[in-house]
Symmetry: C2
Subunit: 317 residues, 2 copies
């Protein structure tokens, strides 16, 4: 059966959709800026659970995932819309009020204004479509397709924390009853923080040849860059910035799997020319590998051994 | 309990959202144009039924309702995005292929390009968020708020057909087994045609003081114009362009109710200065009344009698 990525490739070909397939669509706006736009659909019990998250946290996350897409193009977010379908009992109990509160608290940090959306009744599940617009200097949106052999591969922050938090929630932990590293990991899952400032910084440096946000997981998202760029990648296992909070709750192998394949860290994964990689010294980023000529192939390097890294990140279909 | 309209007013006040509440949001684009954007959420068994409509028809309608919002601002549609959540069995049976086919067939008529969206698994129902962008000359988007006492009120086309078609479907009729007026009415419901060309014509004439599309129903949508403009309205019952196809299937009272309160005709409802109303002679529009000073009050005039027309169109909450 077709994966969602195959399906998107199919309709791109069938309807000649040149602009589909990156973190955001890019369309002309004015002499200074192109317009970015992204939409993210979140469905109850697929993308979030009401037992795990408050309405405010769900509002925060709905906006955060879209802001992360703007960040992944090096853009500046400007406006947002939310379409929301809500069952009657949640409408009556004030779910939308908390949701919009959480959305706006995050929006205020990035000066994003809500300009529209839609409200609908849903028979039995909350559904949310989060839409965010942004600006990027004309012709300079950082696409997935610009990675070149020899480029250095970087990730921001740490990896696997959100997947660890999800596992803790699945094991019955909750944010309100947690402290320390447990609370931190669950927050990574429920209240992701989009790397908008880092994306803008990279844009200012004009240094990234390709970029994507880590929503599906490192193995899948790096495969997306490789496919779009027609290149391969070699990732050095021992330098992966595995989230240190995982070690208190999970074994080394499990933490490593979270870092490789766990989704929703919403960090940035990007490539820069080798000879400019030293310019990133002051930034909270880690070099994890190098782009290769082996199109579509991602190698994981452990000492002298090399294994192929299959994309095992999250996918709906 | 709060209606959805009250809720939207509440969050507009609470978060100071000036741009929320018209058919589209309007934001600055460049020296020539403002950017329009609209989002419409459609949920299976609330907004459409798989027993009644093919995937192609659902794709057509998802785009049509958003194009209608662009038309209601006098805008020209440019780009579209679709977020779609689909249960596994419908994914496997090719629902998305038919859906995108129907979407693109309508899009081609208006030169609208798909640029993005999202694909997600939905546990048990199809959910669709349709997003369309458009252009409108700077500062000239036709809002709901510009109607002035004395303005003439017009509607395009005919009224009540889509509601009649819905009732036929609810009574077990189907498009494939229908002919003549029955087929016509069901088509009005399943394959609405957005009045984009008329909206652009009105923009060119620079004649409309306010406009909205008839999605909820005449009584509700006229109330929206009156509320936004701080005016009232008087509607002449005998001139209402009730869809003539209704008479073969419904009594006069029922047809009249469809025309007053039935939603989804996706015609345009707009106001023009009295002294310019003759300029619309060549267009497929009907004058149905006059804007009054009685803020928030819509009167229905029958001969010498006057009754208040309560908004009874569609609402989710």
């Amino acid at each position: 059966m077709r994966s969602e990525f195959q399906f998107i490739n199919d309709i791109k070909k069938r309807f000649l959709l040149d602009r589909v397939g990156d973190d955001c669509a890019v369309v002309p706006k004015n002499r200074a800026s192109d317009l970015l736009i992204t939409a993210d659909l979140l469905i109850e019990n697929v993308d979030f659970r009401l037992e795990w998250a408050t309405p405010e946290q769900i509002g925060h996350k709905a906006l955060a995932v879209s802001l992360s897409d703007i960040a992944a193009m090096g853009g500046t977010p400007t406006f947002g819309l939310v379409s929301i379908g809500v069952p009657q009992e949640l409408w009556d109990s004030g779910f939308p009020d908390g949701f919009y509160q959480g959305w706006h608290e995050l929006a205020a940090r990035f000066d994003v204004e809500m300009i529209g959306g839609d409200t609908s009744k849903s028979p039995d599940r909350v559904v949310i479509d989060s839409i965010v617009l942004g600006d990027v200097p004309v012709g300079r949106a950082i696409l997935r397709s610009g990675a070149r052999p020899g480029d250095a591969i970087f990730v921001s922050g740490s990896l696997g924390g959100a997947a660890g938090g999800l596992t803790l929630l699945e094991n019955g932990k909750s944010l309100s009853d947690s402290t320390g590293s447990e609370s931190y990991l669950i927050e990574r899952q429920l209240r992701p923080f989009p790397q908008v400032e880092l994306g803008k910084r990279l844009m200012k440096l004009a240094i990234a040849t390709s970029m994507i946000d880590l929503s599906d997981g490192l193995s899948s998202d790096l495969a997306h860059i490789c496919e779009a760029s027609g290149v391969g990648a070699a990732v050095i296992e021992e330098v992966l910035p595995i989230d240190q909070n995982l070690s208190e709750h999970f074994g080394g192998d499990e933490s490593f799997e979270f870092a490789l394949h766990g989704g929703e860290d919403f960090e940035l994964l990007f490539t820069v020319p080798e000879d400019r990689s030293s310019e990133l010294k002051e930034l909270p980023v880690t070099r994890v590998g190098t782009i290769t000529t082996y199109a579509g192939k991602v190698d994981l390097i452990r000492g002298d051994a090399k294994t192929e890294l299959e994309p095992k990140g999250y996918r709906h279909f």
